[in-house]
């Protein structure tokens, strides 16, 4: 195991035990106040747990009688906001890590340019932080964190403060640069977990409520939080002829290539239910068997395996839906987001 973290922080009621493999990305999901940030603080050396150990690549960072200060841990932190040093230009921001680790001015600038290139931000090198948009700033912050060549990367909701429009592209960038890096990703967004993480841990009330491979946890949620965030419809598969398992949607840039592993995501409320295929319509049609009906106020959630559709009570009654009924879920291609996995 690359990272082993056990920590008890009495004041915050947090007690966790996590392990992450070499090059693996672990997503920590959970509601506010569940203790996600506490875990990051313990790993980064910003918080000393009452009991516990942090071991990274065999080196004890925190433990009884051991305390490695934050700057010696090779653990980089990326927060919700870019937090670029306002008095330094973009290039110097990215060069900060190498420079602090003893690299010459020239070497560190070269490294900075290389990492800016990695996150598609080479053209921003000469800007000041205040001249950047939120998405650009976060790109630069990613480059800065990577340039420090950390052994562990901690991402604290890195996408949650950004404009929806820039999310897909930045997700893809993160996916690319996180590949093969030992990473802990704290997020609210199930899509981040799905696309960026190999495994997820769901935290509730300071404890790990559930853990496992991402798809497994989301498909068969056992914790309340996982069930709630898993409310999205997801179809995973490979990209063939512009569709995932026959479902067409809006693919985010960069567009997936033929045979790429992808996932199609859409909301239950975007799904219409028909008793027979609505011929001639541009919608995606999925033949399914109803497994369950769940009343939700003036709506009914119609479950068919791992897919769900939200209907009004009236519509559900008209369709005469019962478990075992064979129906068609239809969803417009414009309502389906397709991501590379």
């Amino acid at each position: 195991m690359s990272l082993q973290l056990t920590a008890t922080v009495d004041e915050r009621g947090v007690e966790v035990d996590l392990e992450i493999g070499e090059g693996e990305t672990l997503a920590i999901l959970g509601p506010n106040g569940a203790g996600k940030s506490t875990v990051l603080a313990v790993a980064a050396g910003l918080l000393r747990p009452d009991r516990g150990r942090v071991v990274l690549e065999g080196r004890e960072l925190t433990g009884p009688g051991t305390w490695v200060p934050p700057h010696d841990r090779r653990v980089a932190l990326l927060a919700q906001e870019p937090l670029l040093f306002p008095h330094l230009g973009v290039l110097d921001n990215v060069a900060f890590g190498p420079r602090s680790n003893g690299a010459s001015r020239r070497t560190s600038h070269e490294a900075a340019r290389r990492w800016l290139g990695e996150v598609d931000a080479a053209d921003l090198a000469d800007r000041r932080p205040r001249q950047l948009s939120g998405g650009q700033g976060q790109r630069v912050a990613v480059a800065r964190a990577l340039a420090a060549e950390p052994r562990l990367l901690l991402l604290d909701e890195p996408l949650s403060a950004l404009d929806v429009a820039v999310l897909p592209a930045l997700r893809q960038t993160l996916k690319r640069v996180l590949a093969g890096r030992t990473t802990v990703l704290v997020t609210h967004d199930v899509l981040d977990a799905l696309l960026l993480a190999d495994r997820v841990v769901v935290m509730e009330d300071g404890r790990v409520a559930e853990a496992g491979p991402t798809a497994e946890v989301l498909e068969r949620p056992r914790s309340a939080f996982a069930a709630r965030i898993a409310g999205l419809n997801m179809v995973a598969g490979t990209w063939r002829d512009g569709a995932v398992e026959g479902i067409r949607g809006i693919a985010s840039e960069p567009a997936p290539a033929e045979g790429d592993p992808v996932v199609a995501v859409f909301r239950p409320s975007a799904v219409s239910v028909f008793t027979s295929s609505p011929g001639g319509s541009p919608r995606n049609a999925l033949a399914v068997t109803v497994t369950d009906l769940e009343p939700r106020g003036d709506q009914v959630r119609v479950r068919a395996g791992h897919l769900a559709a939200d209907l009004t009570v009236q519509a559900a009654a008209e369709l005469d839906l019962v478990p075992g009924a064979r129906v068609v879920f239809a969803v417009k291609a414009s309502e389906v987001a397709v991501y590379r996995r």
Binding site: H71, R73, A76, L77, F85, G97, S100, A148
Partner: protein, 256 residues
Amino acid sequence: MIPRWLYAPAAVGAAFLLLPLAAIVARVEWSEFFTLITSEASKDALWLSLRTSAMATLLCLLFGTPMAVVLARTSFPGQGVLRSLVLLPLVLPPVVGGVALLYTFGRRGLLGHELEVLGIQVAFSTTAVVLAQTFVAMPFLVVSLEGSLRTAGQRYEVVAASLGAAPTTVFRRITLPLVLPGLVSGSVLAFARALGEFGATITFAGSLQGVTRTLPLEIYQLRETDVDAAVALSLVLVVVAVLVIGFAGRQGRSLG
């Protein structure tokens, strides 16, 4: 929106603060102004004031900056009490400061014997002036800087540390540049306070032309014998203070 009646007391307050300044300007003998402020004694006093205030500001920076950082960034038992005590010179009558310094650095003071052994005589020296000014000016720098440090927060410092920067690197490359506006305005305030120092100086340092008689002491002394010169020098001090405060305001804005 503010209630209209607020303007009346506000105007009275402003007049109360500004009228005395106007009165000084009105009282100046303009025909002799230049002669009065360029007398040997006046020039000596002005030059001494500028020199000692600059030196005091430097000492404030050297010792006040670390103090502000310790107060803003750490917590230890008794910190609140320490902060209050450190800020005491802000509200202490300067003459009390002078007496306190006398009992510290004076011949019979706490450190008097040690200093004497080292051959250092503080009382009646320019050093005494600088000490007195540093004593009253340092809290200004500490308060101003501590405020800036708290406003700036620690988030950038945490990020810098996570990028591998050792504490000294973080302090030099992140903390100091971030609080530079506070540092500049704090220094300017300290300089201005040092420039105006009177009570502690006259109690502790004495008064001798070119050695310990700063501008305020010169004005105080001239007041009895040459009122015109005292008024002219007062105006000089007012102008210097206005320049300093104006500079501080501009720096604060342009850096902030």
